[in-house]
Symmetry: C2
Subunit: 409 residues, 2 copies
């Protein structure tokens, strides 16, 4: 008998019928004697419907009022889910973020959770209730309704699990776990039984959309045992995200191949190699609220160097505009750039103790004639930027080279 | 410069375009220097949509969860209305019932307002905000979301006006005021510039659907100046509901003709004329949660009398069932009943000081050959039950007989 927090996303509660299906699944967990807290998102499509309605009234909807509005999406789902559970003979009670209460800062549409008052939930759990909580939302000190931003329901689930010291936080999604890479590109991709938090963080930040990155950070910080499961399949243990490496029974050196096509690269040629030059280039980019991902600067020659970085493709043209006066000011030789690139990364905690991963990766790409344009590494990840057209080929070959299709010994 | 509470119903906020229209109207009031609190309903159709969704999940939706769900309807409107006001350059802020907070009892789906904490609203008003409040909803002591039942937004408006000691509470509806009778039956029906609370209460209870009866009671209790206006027409002062008769400048003896077709009559013949008999008959009816409207019992003969009353047509068959054993038990002679009846009432505070109203009414009906089946009177109202087929004729003739088509001197 455990205390389990389960989170169900928008597609798994998109209709009364699906809500009833989820309720039946919850009832089976309850029948096993577990205490359950269920976090739900808005019904799929509802948040977008509300956003569209808001934009019909105000071009740039006021953030405070937008939160009042979109938070109704989850509020409808918690009521329906509680009804569905009661219809199965269970005791159930719904809570909005404000009712819990989930206290956040006042950054409307992207608030962060500060604390959770779990008192009422504990009382309901002790009284054998399934507690149903609205994901994605909270209230600030002044009682204003806030939302955590897209995907915030995952974070609500993890934060509740942390506050309640739950035995496990289960995130039910469209997929049945975390894979070695995207099965649409590599059919042999294999579901991981476990993955470490650090690996999951890298995978999430590299574009693997299974979990919202903030929820993974949260889980890591509060040592919440997190599991990704399919909301449509009954069988399977999903992927457990562990925070102790020795729990990782698979002992793989590399856990997965991540990739994304969201970036564009900008290289400034002939930059004077002197202190402060990186700040002069990236300062204006940051001031314009653009995120810079990879940054590469090599050893210079003759007092000059080349400075490269990547930005999100949506920011690409704006970044080039911003850099025009900068390039002139610092007297750089020029700029080359492109958005037909892809980033491919191998991720694995094993590379801490295993040499030769980088050279194996580079050899694999070289054998296929794929040129590496940029390289960036962290302790458990090696990322390369390549021509976008080679993306699928690179992922397939790396997956094979690191034998990811085979269960580790 | 006054403090005004305005309430806009579902049809006047049924689309982004209509919400913008209402916002422009509010802006004009604001431009005149008034401080404004705006109460809004759910967009027309939304409450029914949510109810249908709930019933797909649970046949008889749990009242607590139903309130969580349907309260989102007004929550969406307050956000949209605040956005529309800000889009016009006004300062605006929305509040749910819980945020205000509007404290109610815990009778879900039909809660009653206990108190209102108007502190935050006052601060916003002092800071030149238009305050937008969700109608129809509140919270109980434990923080559970409650709703006031259908039409409850009127009550929210009046209760806020009472708490804030507003100069006036304006209820914007589909019609531009209270009429001497239904203009669909009598085209000459005239909008009343004023009507007293007592008259309005009688009109509302007699089926005139302009205002929810509870809101009128509330206004009378807290001496809130209430005005009914059209939400679609710009011109016109609507109808002011006054609580002092001397404010009623029109000095009419009769203010209006009300009617309804919602009732059925039941007469029990040959009832033993002894103490306790009325209770023996109506007790079981009340126990079954049926409302009895008119009750008539005349002087008896030979220890026997006839006992008549009316119930809502929806309760008619059930009432007859319930009475079967009662009639046997009290040894009454039998029962006659029918649901093809209508009730017509003349209402006016003037009849307190003017004799002859009843006889004028009866003469008018007699001249048209309309038989009166039951009569019931109060201090400011005379109601008769007649054959349903004569309803329109009776209303037209009474409207003419009391010269209601003409403005009083």
């Amino acid at each position: 008998m455990a205390l389990i927090v389960q989170k169900y996303g928008g597609t798994s509660v998109s209709s009364p019928e699906r809500i009833k299906n989820v309720a039946r699944r919850i009832a089976r967990w309850k029948a096993q004697g577990h205490r359950l807290v269920v976090v739900v998102s808005a019904m799929a499509g509802e948040t977008n419907r509300l956003l569209a309605l808001a934009r019909e009234v105000q071009n740039h909807p006021h953030p405070r009022e937008l939160d009042v509005m979109v938070s109704t999406g989850e509020q409808v789902t918690i009521a329906l889910m509680s009804m569905a559970l009661m219809d199965l003979g269970l005791k159930a009670r719904s809570y909005t973020g404000g009712q819990v209460k989930i206290l956040t800062d006042s950054a409307h549409t992207r608030a962060r959770i500060m604390s959770i008052d779990e008192e009422r939930l504990r009382a309901d759990l002790a009284d054998d209730h399934v507690v149903v909580v609205a994901g994605f939302q909270g209230v600030d000190e002044a009682g204003n309704i806030t939302t955590l931003g897209r995907g915030g329901s995952d974070t609500t689930g993890v934060a509740l699990a942390a506050a309640l010291k739950a035995d496990e936080c289960q995130i039910y999604t469209d997929v049945d776990g975390v894979y070695t890479t995207d099965p649409r590109i590599v059919p042999e991709a294999r579901r991981l039984r476990t993955i470490t938090f650090e690996e999951m963080l890298e995978m999430a930040s590299l574009g693997s959309k299974v979990l919202q990155i903030r929820s993974v950070e949260f889980a890591g910080k509060y040592k919440v045992k997190l599991r990704v499961l399919s909301s449509f399949e009954e069988e399977g243990d999903g992927t457990l995200i562990t925070f102790e490496e020795d729990e990782n029974m698979e002992q793989a050196i590399i856990s997965g191949i991540a990739f994304n096509r969201d970036e564009a690269k900008i290289t400034i040629l002939g930059v004077p190699d002197r202190p402060g030059i990186a700040y002069q280039i990236l300062g204006p980019i940051g001031d314009a609220n653009m995120d810079v991902d990879m940054i590469v600067q090599n050893v210079g020659h003759d007092g000059m160097t080349d400075f490269s970085f990547t930005v999100h493709r949506n920011d690409y043209q704006k970044a080039l505009e911003i850099l025009k006066p900068v390039i002139e000011h610092i007297k750089a030789r020029g700029v080359v750039s492109g958005d037909k690139i892809a980033k491919v990364s191998v991720v694995g905690v094993g590379m801490r103790s295993h040499a030769g991963i980088a050279s194996a990766m580079f050899r694999t790409l070289a054998e296929e004639g794929i040129n590496i344009e940029m390289i960036s590494t962290s302790e458990i990840k090696i990322s390369v930027v390549i021509d976008e057209k080679y993306l699928e080929l690179a992922v397939r070959m790396l997956h094979k080279a690191f034998a990811l299709d085979q269960q580790p010994a």
